[in-house]
């Protein structure tokens, strides 16, 4: 049996705007194995969200367009699917949990309406079965008195509860892949710990294959199996999480780790990465990171580095490694 459930190769998603072509995703490559949690890590504007949206083709088109690359889900190429086929896959085979629970929920529909909507759409169940399924999903997520929550409107729930509702909703049709886009970003640390616990449980109990998008490397260390670090629309380093954290190779990954303040110690200045993330319309020539890189060489501004395998599981795109 093939162990790879999703294979993204050389994906390029561009947005054709009046001010120029935004190369949001510019040659991303990764594979997701069954039961694995893959983290896409990067700062805002690095293309991690657009990568996720491209998998389900959830961006506006136009201006957005997948100009190149393949997304193989099992044996289907998602880039070649018709809209009708995509509609079958979205929510049923591949589900998404969005970042802002507040704006992802419809404020004028009850939680029950929203959670049953996609069950009705995808599964051949009776009315009362659908309701029972929704209630059991909510209680699985640790929501107290799920029967009454079904008739609540989103404003009646706290941020953490809304995030749980979204996760319950995404799991409602037993998806094969779950894409979570920064589900822990807008919540408090105690709630963050609760949400991470849910994802940990999904992995152990349901063997869920998850793409977890985050900017927080500490979160990656907590739940990820493998991580792909993204910068300027490209994945610059991919490796098992333990390796990313203990022996990072790409100067950007090294910078990201060093610039985090640490709760276990406090000392002097933080090593920051100089400069800011590049403008996606005018990406730097060569390696997109070279203007901010502490180890920049002459070749970096001229030639784009190719992906180099350091070991079977660790690859990096940087001229330092050949």
């Amino acid at each position: 049996m093939n162990n790879v459930i999703l294979n993204v190769s050389d994906l390029k998603t561009y947005f054709f705007t009046r001010r120029g072509v935004v190369k949001a995703v510019d040659g991303v490559q990764f594979e997701l194995k069954r039961g694995e949690c893959l983290c896409l890590v990067g700062e805002s504007g690095c293309g991690k969200t657009v990568t996720a949206l491209s998998i389900l083709r959830l961006f506006d088109s136009p201006p957005g367009k997948i100009v190149d690359g393949h997304i193989k889900f099992n044996s289907v190429d998602l880039t070649k699917c018709s809209l009708a086929q995509m509609r079958q896959i979205r929510g049923k085979d591949i589900a998404v949990v969005f970042q802002e629970a507040q704006s992802a929920l419809n404020p004028v529909l009850t939680i029950g309406d929203q959670i049953t909507e996609q069950i009705k759409l995808h599964l051949p169940l009776e009315h009362n079965q659908i309701k029972a399924r929704a209630i059991s999903l909510l209680s699985d997520m640790g929501i107290p008195s799920p029967e009454s929550v079904m008739s609540y409107y989103p404003y009646q729930l706290s941020g953490g509860m809304k995030q749980r509702v979204l996760i319950a909703m995404s799991l409602s049709c037993d998806p094969q892949i779950l894409i979570a886009d920064e589900p822990t970003t807008a919540v408090d640390v105690t709630i963050k710990a609760q949400i991470l616990d849910i994802f940990r449980e999904l992995k152990t109990k349901r063997q869920m294959s998850t793409i977890f998008i985050t900017h927080d490397l500490a979160v990656v260390a907590e739940i990820g199996d493998r991580a792909a670090v993204m910068y300027g629309g490209k994945d610059v380093e991919t490796a098992p999480v333990s390796e990313i954290i203990s022996v990072p190779k790409h100067p950007y990954t090294v910078g990201l780790i060093n610039c985090l303040p640490d709760t276990t110690k406090s000392a002097g200045r933080l090593t920051s990465i100089p400069g800011t993330t590049p403008n996606p319309i005018e990406m730097p020539e060569g390696c997109t990171f070279h203007p901010r890189c502490p180890k920049v060489m002459k070749i970096c501004s001229q030639k784009e580095p190719l992906k180099t395998k350091i070991s079977d599981s660790h690859s990096v795109s940087c001229h330092l490694y050949k």
Binding site: G159, A193, A221, G255, C259, D262, T263
Partner: protein, 330 residues
């Protein structure tokens, strides 16, 4: 006694800020949201006090009340020994020169129709400092201090990145030569690589100008990096206050313990985690006794009946919890 007063830059004594809740067509007063409910602490000159808590715990309201952007319901705020709560308009204007605020969202705190040079200059104009010739020089100096180029003074906020906008916010706060800066989540809207730049900048400024900060944040690792002393807030009250190292290495309050253990870390495997259940209760109807008792993992029978006082347990390590000895004098 007088010496003690002068030694402290800012003293906050039993500060309260209640927001009334009304109902019905006659706007009947049905209750209060006790956003800040009896907070007492000091900030010394050149000291960084970190204020941590989850959203809704009242930490931003506390910061705003110190500047009297919110009228306090009760208690005292002493700036260099003078009570701020009784100040008139003129006195307030003077106070707001000495205490400045840096906001969380640099996007929302800058006027999009003003060039950043004008924005930085605005406080100088309002307070009538310098003349037409001197002000641009001061603006250039301020911009340089925060790592911006004076050549960018004629640009508008949208032409800057988030980190640069936060630098502009800092330059603006520095324009008045303040003694105390209240920084309300100054880095939580920024990317990690930019966050490090801003934290370094704020530390440099603090060292060079000997400023005091009240640094409000929910991120404990940021607080550990910046603060000298740390106060932990829960539902309008300070539950623990101690020197940074003492607090992080020897937390006494169960809430602090839980907060520290909840922080994601690079070495998750060898860590004991206390998972808090439920959410922060509504401040409109807080639990009786200790507000934290419904979520506490070390709850005692007394906790839902008697509210604990904030008591010094060991050389400036204050905690408000029934697990530790209580005295009758708060």
């Amino acid at each position: 006694m007088k010496r003690e007063v002068n030694h402290k830059l800012l003293q906050i004594v039993d500060l309260k800020k209640y927001f009334p809740v009304t109902a019905g067509i006659f706007s009947r007063h049905v209750g209060d949201i006790k956003a800040v409910d009896g907070v007492t602490f000091n900030i010394g000159p050149g000291e960084i006090v970190g204020l941590v808590g989850e959203s809704g715990c009242g930490k931003s309201t506390l910061g705003r009340t110190i500047l009297r952007l919110e009228e306090p319901t009760g208690g005292k705020i002493l700036y260099r020994g003078t009570d701020v709560t009784g100040l008139d308009k003129k006195g307030l204007r003077e106070l707001r020169r000495k205490i400045q605020l840096i906001f969380q969202d640099p996007d929302a705190s800058l006027d999009p129709r003003m060039t950043v040079g004008d924005s930085i200059c605005e406080p100088l104009v309002i307070h009538n400092i310098g003349n037409e010739k001197e002000r641009p020089r001061r603006v250039a100096e301020l911009m340089e201090q925060v790592g911006l180029d004076f050549g960018q003074a004629n640009l508008y906020p949208h032409e800057f990145s988030g980190g640069q906008k936060q630098r502009i916010g800092i330059a603006r706060a520095l324009a008045m030569n303040p003694k105390l800066i209240i920084a309300d989540e100054p880095v939580s809207a920024l990317d990690v690589s930019i966050q490090a730049q801003i934290l370094n900048l704020m530390m440099d400024i603090q060292e060079n100008l000997r400023l005091a900060y009240l640094f409000i944040a929910h991120d404990l690792s940021v607080i550990r990096h910046m603060a000298h002393r740390v106060a932990i807030m829960y539902l309008g009250k300070i539950v623990e206050l101690a020197d940074k190292n003492e607090l992080f290495e020897n937390p006494l309050h169960p809430y602090t313990e839980a907060l520290l253990s909840a922080v994601p870390s690079f070495k998750p495997k060898d860590k004991y985690r206390i998972l808090l259940h439920g959410d922060v209760p509504s401040p409109l109807n807080p639990p009786t006794g200790c507000h934290f008792h419904p979520r506490c993992h070390r709850v005692l029978p007394i906790c839902n009946q008697v509210e604990p006082n904030l008591i010094d347990q060991a050389e400036g390590h204050f905690v408000s919890c029934h697990l530790y000895k209580q005295s009758t004098i708060p």
